[in-house]
């Protein structure tokens, strides 16, 4: 069989055995524990836990802020990717390396630093405080933190695609009489679309689950600035395991759906894999 013939190289048993054992021990069994623990709840209890007003308010905040942040990242991320790939300017390489800072900087550090900057006495918060606008401890601050951590996803997804675009396409458009604006909006941007959607979804998915960089700047007021991951932690600290488990399962299912969406977009809309 084709199946057997392809196994020319040795080591399949060892490599596969190791992979599956480790995957089950670290990822699958613990995730199964979450499902198992939730199944101990009755349906009524489950709904009560995951749809209580305080939890619903946290969903609205988490998804709303994540959506706005991912949108902002799509715009600024595209500008950054474009500038980094297409133009040469002093400090380009430093900017390119800096893009990954939100990946490399521990989220707790990002959290306290952004809070210090946007607090009423902070470098930027100070400018807005006299206008009556507070940034830290409001949904606006949460959104800014989520923009920070989501930025690399859009840039790093768009960059390789922009680099590999065939310049002949743009030349062809120009030779057929297209203006630059027309070429960019009708030729370049559509071919970026799959990567753009992927970058948006990756930034959104990351933002939905984010905890460390948000928890300091959010102020954590129930019903107002309390994100869903914090609800889980609060419930755990109050020994409300059933509640934490139920909300945790909702978060898990949502991340699965996002993961499947991202995979689907990559398989069906473009050949490019995000890094």
């Amino acid at each position: 069989m084709n199946f057997q013939k392809s196994r020319v190289l040795p080591g399949f048993g060892l490599a596969m055995g190791l992979t599956l054992t480790y995957l089950c021990l670290i990822v699958l069994f613990p995730l199964a524990a979450l499902v198992l623990k939730t199944s101990a709840l009755s349906w009524g209890q489950f709904v009560q836990e995951v749809a209580s007003p305080r939890v619903m308010a946290s969903y609205r905040l988490t998804f709303g802020a994540s959506f706005v942040a991912a949108l902002c990242n799509s715009v600024f991320g595209a500008v950054l990717a474009w500038v980094l790939v297409r133009y040469d300017f002093p400090g380009r390489q430093v900017v390119d390396a800096l893009i990954d800072l939100p990946f490399a900087l521990p989220t707790a550090v990002a959290g306290i630093t952004l809070t210090a900057i946007y607090a009423p006495n902070g470098v930027i918060g100070k400018l807005f405080a006299p206008l009556g606008i507070s940034i830290a401890y409001t949904p606006l601050g949460i959104t800014l933190a989520l923009i920070f951590i989501g930025l690399p996803f859009v840039v790093r997804t768009l960059q390789p695609v922009l680099e590999s675009l065939d310049p002949e396409m743009e030349k062809a458009a120009v030779s057929l009489g297209a203006t630059r604006w027309y070429t960019v909006t009708r030729v370049v941007l559509p071919s970026l679309l799959p990567a753009w959607i992927t970058g948006f979804s990756l930034a959104f998915a990351r933002a939905v689950g984010e905890y460390g960089s948000v928890v300091f700047i959010s102020g954590n007021m129930p019903m107002k600035t309390e994100i869903t991951p914090l609800i889980i932690i609060t419930k755990l600290e109050q020994y409300d395991y059933a509640g934490a488990t139920a909300v945790g399962l909702v978060m898990l299912v949502i991340s699965f759906c996002l993961l499947l969406t991202i995979n689907w977009v990559q398989e069906h809309m473009g050949r490019y894999r995000a890094h």
Partner: protein, 301 residues
């Protein structure tokens, strides 16, 4: 229609490259916008960390960093990062070998499963270990009866760190080894090399930069992980306190300068990571572009 044509001829200068890029003012505006954004969102936080860290002078900074509790946090951070890097590297190599060198049903499912920890919230990552090993958890009573502590202890922290950094190495290696194919390994096999010999002498040299790249990312995330570790740690000062958790404790005690002093250590680590990433990244790009010799000769024809 004729109108468009006319416009084109009028607009088109002798230099055809001019219509292949944007007008000067657009380029200038876009670069400025990008630099402003990077300055506000990325450079300003970096400056803020270091200026806040040295707020009370260098001697205070040193006293915070040399505090025994801070030192034990550094130690625990290094230990959990070491465990995650070593175990996830072995897993990364094994999974990439299995996935790229063989055909088997369910391969795409396996790749998706490996990616799961990336999309799971760090808080959920911590929660699942509490549900497994915590006192209320599935194995909790048994562990308690045998006096084994996982949650609110070092093993829990290591497990949670391993979970969040799980896919980093394999995610780099799988596409790289897929791209490189198995021709060289098969040639080595025909020439009589054994399995381990092929791995050490043929495969590993071909993937070394990709492997190192994955290890750098894995290490950075392991040392900086906060959410997952926060759930399982219990915040016992000097015992289950990693560097990021220590930052949180100091911050919540309104000891801001000390919090930023410890945060500056982690920021320094992040900068080292970025530099290492760009250096290794350049080599990694070359490694990705190396074509099998057969293709190379075809290309020159």
């Amino acid at each position: 229609m004729p109108e468009t044509l006319k416009m084109t001829f009028k607009d088109k200068p002798n230099d055809p490259t001019k219509t292949l890029t944007e007008p000067r003012w657009v380029r200038w505006a876009l670069v400025s916008l990008a630099l402003l954004f990077v300055g506000l969102f990325l450079v300003l936080p970096l400056v803020e960390v270091f200026s806040a860290a040295f707020d009370k002078g260098f001697t205070y900074y040193l006293s915070v960093v040399r505090d025994p509790v801070a030192l034990s946090a550094i130690q625990l951070t290094l230990i959990s990062a070491l465990f995650s890097v070593v175990l996830n590297t072995i897993f990364g190599l094994a999974s990439a070998w299995a996935i790229t060198k063989f055909q088997f049903p369910g391969k795409n499912l396996l790749i998706t499963l490996i990616d799961i920890p990336f999309s799971v919230s760090p808080v959920v990552a911590g929660l699942i270990y509490v549900l497994l090993f915590g006192l209320q958890g599935i194995w909790g009573p048994w562990l308690a009866a045998h006096n084994i502590h996982v949650i609110f202890a070092v093993p829990g922290i290591i497990l949670a760190t391993i979970f969040v950094t799980f896919p980093f190495v394999s995610r780099e290696l799988i596409p790289l080894m897929q791209e490189q194919g198995s021709d060289e390994e098969e040639a080595a096999l025909v020439l009589g090399a054994g399995g381990w010999q092929i791995f050490w002498k043929v495969t590993l040299p071909n993937i070394q930069w990709g492997l190192l790249y994955g290890v750098i990312l894995c290490n950075a995330r392991a040392m900086g992980e906060f959410g997952a570790v926060s759930v399982v740690s219990g915040h016992i000062r000097g015992l289950t306190d990693t560097l990021p958790l220590h930052v949180e404790i100091l911050y919540n005690e309104y000891n801001f300068t000390a919090a930023f002093a410890v945060a500056s250590l982690l920021t320094f680590l992040a900068i080292v990571t970025l530099v290492a990433k760009s250096l290794v990244g350049a080599k990694y790009e070359q490694e990705k572009q190396v074509l099998p010799t057969s293709l190379e000769s075809e290309r020159t024809v």
